[in-house]
C-alpha cells in the first residue's frame, strides 16, 4: 500500500532539514504546483470564445484576481515555486555526484538564492500591482 | 515436516563453512549443496575476527618457519603433518580472496601487506585494516553467490545429527521463522559451527556461539578432541568483552600495569607483548593477582597503551578498534590507554577429524573452529584461526565433495529417530514444570566456568565445577519454555542453546580434570609443568550410554621434537 506506507516518511524522526524534510517539502510543493497548473488552465480557459463575447469573461476574471488577497496568494505561490526550483536545482547538481558530502551547506546556499529570487519577484509584482 | 535433500549439507556459514561450500562447488560443478545456519550468513561470528590471516607470502619467510611457530605456539600438541599441510595451503588462500575481491591492505608497491603478530617470528599476518574476518566473510559470501546449485537455509536452528548404520542419515532443524520441523538429508555432512565461548561471561564471542555443533556431535556419539583447551585472549575490552585485536600489539602497543611498567618484561623478555596468547593472558592475571592491576567498577584490568602510535597510524591500521573504544568506552586510543582483561576467545578443541577433515563417521566432516585436526594443539597463535578456516575449509570442502561424488544415493530417513527428536525439542521443553529460567541457569553456568575453569585451574576448583555443572544439568529439567508462539520463538532457541552449553561444559571440565599437567592454554596451579612423558597426547571424549568416556591418542610428530617453550 504505497499511500499508507508513505506515512513512514513522516514517522521517521531525527530528519535533517536538508535531507528528509527537504524531500517531503519537494513533494508537497510539487503537488501544489501541479494543482496550480490546473487552476491556471481553468483561468486561461476563460479566454475561450473571447472573440465573440469581447473577452468580457476574462476581463471579469482579471478583476477578481487583481485584488490584495489573490496577490498575497500569488506571493505564497512564488515561495512554493522558488523552493521547488531551488531545491530541484540542488538535487540535479547533487545527482551528478557534486556537493553530496557538504549537502547541508549546499542546501542552505540554494535556499538563500531561492529566498532572494522570491523577494525580488514579489517586489516586482507588488510594485506593479500598487501602481496599476 | 519438510525434508530437504542435497548432495552435501554444510552446517554453519562462517569462514570455514562458506569456504568449504566454494571448494566443494569448484571440485564438482554439479553438486547440490545446502548451507544451513541458525543466522543469516553474514551475521556469523567470523565477522568479529580482526587482526589478520597468517600466510607465507614474501622473502624471508618459509613454510618450515610458519610450521615451527605454530607447533611451538601449540606447546607441541599440534599434529605436525596437518600443520605442514596447513602452512602450504595458506598462500593460495590469500590469493583466492584477493581474486574474489577482498580489500586487503596494501603496501606502497601495491602488494598485499602483512604485519607482526603474537608468536610469529616473521611478520606474516595478512590484514585488511583491523577487520580481516569481516572482509573475508563478506568476500566469501559474495563469491558463493556466483555458483548455482547452492541453496541457502538461513535461520534454521539445527538440533541433532542422526547417524544410522554408522553413517550420516539426517540433520534435524527448526525453521526459526515459522517454528516448523525441517529435515536435511544428504550424502555427506560438513560441520562448521564454530566454538563454544558463551560458556564464559567475559568473552569476545557473539551471543550466538553456544557450541551447538559440538553438542550435537557429542549426543550423536561422535568423538570430541582436546576440549579442555580454551584460549583466553589477553585484550578483551572492559566491561563488554569486545575483542581488541592482537594487531594493536603487533603495531607496537604496550601492556601497562598500575605502576606504569611494561610488565611483559618479567614473563617474556624477548617477545614482550607479542608472546603467544596463553603466555600473555597468564602474565596479565599474575600481575592482577600480585596487586599491580587497576581496580574498576567492572573488575580488575590492565591498560593497553596505543598513544605512542599516533592518531594517523591508529586511523590507518586500527580504525575498527579505535571506533569501538570511542563508541563503547568513550576513550580515544590516541589520547588515553584502553582498559583490557583476558576474555574467553577460542576453542582449540572440537570434533575429531583426520588430516582431510573427515571425522571417524564416514560422510561426516568438520572444519574451522568446530573441528580439531589438530592444528593449534594446546594454544592457537593469533591470525592462525582465520587461516585455518580458509585452508581447512578448502581442504575439507574438497574431500567432502570427492567423498560425496562416490556415494550413489542418500540413505532412507530413520523416521524413528526423527520422531524422537521431534518429541525432545517440540514437546518436552513446553511441559510446565518448575520455576527456573534459562537466563538464571546460564548465568550460574557462566560464573562457575569463569571462576573454576578459567585461566588458572586446580583439582579442587575443577571437581567443584563438575559437581556444579551436574547440578545445573539436573536443575535444567525444571526449566520450561513459557512462550507458546512458534513464530521466531527465541525462548525455545535459547533453551536449546543452554542445553548444548550444559553438555559441552561437562566435556571441558572432565578433560581438564584428567589432564594433570600444564600445556598451552590449560594451566594447572597444582601441576604447573608440561609433562611430555605422560601427556603428549590428545584427549578424546565420547558419550556412551549417557556417560562421557575419555581416551587418548598420540600426537603426530614429523620434524619438531618438543623443547622448552620460552619467549
Amino acid at each position: 500500500m504505497p499511500l499508507k506506507d508513505s506515512l513512514y516518511w513522516i514517522k521517521l524522526k531525527g530528519k535533517h532539514l536538508s535531507d528528509g524534510i527537504a524531500f517531503l517539502f519537494h513533494r508537497l510543493t510539487g503537488l501544489v504546483i501541479l494543482l496550480y497548473l490546473y487552476i491556471h488552465f481553468a483561468a486561461l480557459s476563460q479566454l475561450i470564445g473571447a472573440q465573440s463575447t469581447g473577452g468580457s469573461n476574462f476581463k471579469n476574471f482579471l478583476k477578481t484576481v487583481e485584488s490584495p488577497p489573490f496577490v498575497a496568494l500569488d506571493i505564497l505561490l512564488f515561495l512554493v515555486i522558488f523552493y521547488h526550483g531551488a531545491n530541484g536545482i540542488r538535487l540535479v547538481i547533487n545527482e551528478f555526484g557534486i556537493g553530496t558530502k557538504k549537502r547541508q551547506l549546499f542546501f542552505w546556499i540554494m535556499m538563500a538564492l531561492g529566498i532572494i529570487g522570491w523577494i525580488l519577484l514579489s517586489y516586482v509584482v507588488v510594485n506593479a500591482f500598487l501602481h496599476s | 515436516m519438510n525434508v530437504h535433500k542435497a548432495d552435501l549439507i554444510i552446517l554453519g556459514a562462517g569462514l570455514a563453512g562458506l569456504r568449504a561450500a566454494i571448494s566443494a562447488k569448484e571440485t564438482d560443478k554439479n553438486l547440490t549443496i545446502a548451507v544451513v545456519s541458525k543466522l543469516y550468513f553474514l551475521r556469523s561470528h567470523s565477522v568479529s575476527a580482526e587482526g589478520g590471516t597468517a600466510a607465507v607470502l614474501y622473502e624471508g619467510d618459509s613454510y618450515d618457519l610458519h610450521a615451527y611457530d605454530t607447533i611451538k605456539g601449540s606447546d607441541y600438541l599440534a599434529d605436525q603433518d596437518a600443520v605442514e599441510r596447513f602452512v602450504r595451503t595458506m598462500p593460495n588462500e590469500i590469493l583466492y580472496l584477493d581474486h574474489w575481491g577482498m580489500p586487503w591492505s596494501r603496501r606502497e608497491d601495491g602488494k598485499i601487506a602483512q604485519r607482526p603478530f603474537g608468536g610469529h617470528s616473521f611478520p606474516r599476518a595478512t590484514y585488511a585494516a583491523d577487520r580481516t574476518g569481516f572482509h573475508a566473510m563478506h568476500t566469501l559470501y559474495e563469491r558463493l553467490l556466483t555458483y548455482d546449485g547452492v541453496e541457502k537455509f538461513q535461520e534454521y536452528f539445527a538440533t541433532s545429527i542422526i547417524i544410522d548404520n554408522g553413517r550420516f542419515n539426517a540433520l534435524t532443524a527448526i525453521n526459526m521463522k515459522t517454528g516448523e520441523y525441517e529435515i536435511f538429508q544428504g550424502k555427506g555432512l560438513l560441520i562448521a559451527t564454530g566454538g563454544l565461548g558463551r560458556l564464559y561471561p567475559f568473552t569476545t564471542y557473539s551471543h550466538t556461539v553456544t557450541g551447538d555443533g559440538a553438542a550435537m556431535a557429542l549426543r550423536a556419539g561422535m568423538p570430541l578432541e582436546d576440549m579442555e583447551f580454551v584460549q583466553f585472549h589477553p585484550t578483551g575490552l572492559v566491561p563488554s568483552g569486545i575483542l581488541i585485536t592482537e594487531g594493536a600489539r603487533g603495531e607496537g602497543g604496550y601492556l601497562i600495569n598500575k605502576d606504569g611498567e611494561r610488565f611483559m618484561q618479567r614473563y617474556a623478555p624477548q617477545k614482550m607483548e607479542l608472546a603467544p596468547r596463553d603466555v600473555v593472558s597468564r602474565s596479565i592475571m599474575w600481575e592482577i593477582q600480585a596487586g599491580r592491576g587497576f581496580e574498576g567498577p567492572w573488575g580488575p584490568y590492565v591498560l593497553l597503551d596505543l598513544r605512542h602510535l599516533g592518531d594517523e597510524k591508529i586511523k590507518e591500521r586500527l580504525p575498527a578498534i579505535r571506533d569501538l573504544a570511542i563508541k563503547f568506552n568513550g576513550i580515544d586510543p590516541a589520547k588515553e590507554p584502553i582498559p583490557v582483561r583476558p576474555a574467553a576467545h577460542y576453542t582449540m578443541g572440537g570434533i575429531q577429524v583426520d588430516i582431510d577433515g573427515m571425522s571417524p563417521i564416514p560422510g561426516i566432516f568438520a572444519a574451522g573452529e568446530a573441528a580439531c585436526v589438530s592444528i593449534h594443539g594446546a594454544n592457537r597463535l593469533g591470525s592462525n584461526s582465520t587461516a585455518e578456516c580458509l585452508a581447512y575449509g578448502d581442504i575439507t570442502g574438497v574431500s567432502a565433495a570427492k567423498y560425496v561424488q562416490k556415494v550413489s544415493n542418500i540413505p532412507e530417513l530413520n523416521m524413528q529417530k526423527v520422531k524422537e527428536e521431534e518429541n525432545r525439542i517440540f514437546k518436552e521443553p513446553f511441559k510446565e514444570r518448575g520455576s527456573e529460567s534459562v537466563a538464571s541457569l546460564r548465568k550460574e553456568l557462566q560464573n562457575t566456568m569463569q571462576e573454576k575453569v578459567g585461566i588458572f585451574r586446580n583439582e579442587k576448583d575443577l571437581t567443584d565445577a563438575l559437581q556444579k555443572v551436574k547440578e545445573l544439568q539436573k536443575r535444567f529439567e525444571n526449566v520450561y519454555v513459557e512462550d507458546k508462539n512458534m513464530f521466531y520463538n527465541m525462548n525455545l532457541i535459547t533453551y536449546l542453546e543452554l542445553s548444548n552449553l550444559l553438555e559441552v561444559a561437562e566435556v571441558v571440565i572432565l578433560g581438564a580434570i584428567a589432564r594433570k599437567e600444564s600445556r598451552g592454554a590449560h594451566y594447572r596451579t597444582d601441576y604447573p609443568k608440561r609433562d611430555d612423558v605422560n601427556w603428549m597426547k590428545h584427549t578424546i571424549a565420547i558419550k556412551r550410554d549417557g556417560k562421557i568416556e575419555l581416551s587418548y591418542i598420540p600426537v603426530r610428530v614429523t620434524k619438531w621434537q618438543p623443547e622448552e617453550r620460552k619467549y
Binding site: 506506507d5 | 551475521r43 565477522v47 581474486h99 580489500p103 527465541m490
Partner: protein, 249 residues
C-alpha cells in the same frame, strides 16, 4: 544508575500492542543490553535478533525513538528519550519500518528480500581474465572504495529511506552501494554488467537524494553519495549505448 521505560512493540501483523518495561541502566548501558535485560528477567517471550554486540554483524538494527539504529552500539546516555513520563525517560523500540521489511514478530523483520536485492546487483568481483599471483592495487586505489566495503548489511539505511519505505521494488541504498563498491574497485572488470542491472527505474534512478540513508548508516559509509556516483556511471553507460559508443556494451 537510573530506571527507564522501554516501550516495545510486541506481537505480529495480526495483533500487536506496545508494552512498557521498566529497567535499570548505567552510564554505558546499550539499548541491546536493555533488551537482554527484559528478556532475561521480565518477559522471556521477547524476540529480537542479536549476535556480535560490537556493530559488525548487522543483526540488531531496530527503530529506536523512530530512528533506525544498531542497538548494540547505541548507548541510552547518548540519545534523547522519546518523552518523559512520571520522571522516567521513555524509549520506544520497534522493528525496522517500511515496505522493504516484512514484519514477522516483536522486533524481528524478514531480511530475505533485503538480501535478494543485494544479490541481484552482482555484488562480487568480476574478472574477464584470471591472472596468476596477486592483483596489484595501490593504497590510493584502495582508499577510493574502501569505506564502501564496511557495510554490515544492517538495514538501517533501507529503513530510513523514504522510497524504500513506500516502494518495495526499489533496490535500496544497501544494494546500490554494494554495486558501486565493486564498480569503484580497481580490480573489477564487470562495471557494465552491474550498470545494466541498476540503470533501471527501480534501480539507482528511483533515488531522489533524500539522503536519510547517510544519516542512519552506523558506519558512516554515506550511501547517498555512492548512489549519486552510480547515477553518473549509469547515465554515461546509457548514453554510450544509445549512441553506440564503445564502452556501452
Amino acid at each position: 544508575m537510573e530506571n527507564i521505560i522501554l516501550r516495545i512493540k510486541r506481537g505480529d501483523p495480526s495483533h500487536w500492542e506496545y508494552k512498557d518495561y521498566e529497567i535499570p541502566i548505567e552510564k554505558d548501558t546499550t539499548v541491546l543490553d536493555g533488551l537482554f535485560y527484559v528478556r532475561d528477567n521480565i518477559d522471556h517471550s521477547l524476540s529480537f535478533r542479536a549476535s556480535c554486540r560490537m556493530e559488525v554483524c548487522g543483526s540488531c538494527a531496530m527503530m529506536v525513538n523512530n530512528f533506525p539504529r544498531t542497538t548494540c552500539s547505541t548507548l541510552f546516555s547518548k540519545i534523547e528519550p522519546a518523552k518523559i513520563e512520571n520522571g522516567k525517560k521513555v524509549f520506544i523500540i520497534e522493528p525496522l519500518q517500511g515496505a522493504a521489511f516484512k514484519w514477522i514478530r516483536d522486533l524481528v523483520v524478514d531480511f530475505d528480500e533485503f538480501f535478494k536485492k543485494h544479490e541481484s546487483v552482482k555484488p562480487y568481483l568480476i574478472r574477464k581474465d584470471n591472472p596468476e599471483g596477486q592483483l596489484l592495487q595501490s593504497p590510493k586505489e584502495l582508499k577510493k572504495y574502501y569505506i564502501l566495503t564496511l557495510c554490515i548489511k544492517c538495514g538501517a539505511c533501507t529503513a530510513a529511506c523514504p522510497i524504500s519505505n513506500s516502494d518495495p521494488n526499489y533496490l535500496g541504498p544497501a544494494a546500490l552501494t554494494a554495486a558501486y563498491r565493486f564498480n569503484a574497485d580497481s580490480r573489477d572488470q564487470g562495471k557494465n554488467l552491474r550498470l545494466a542491472i541498476v540503470s533501471d527505474p527501480e534501480g539507482c534512478w528511483r533515488c531522489h537524494f533524500s539522503s536519510e540513508c547517510s544519516n542512519a548508516c552506523p558506519k558512516e559509509i554515506d550511501p547517498a553519495t555512492a548512489i549519486q556516483k552510480l547515477k553518473v556511471q549509469s547515465a554515461a553507460y546509457e548514453l554510450k549505448k544509445i549512441f553506440h559508443i564503445k564502452g556501452g556494451e
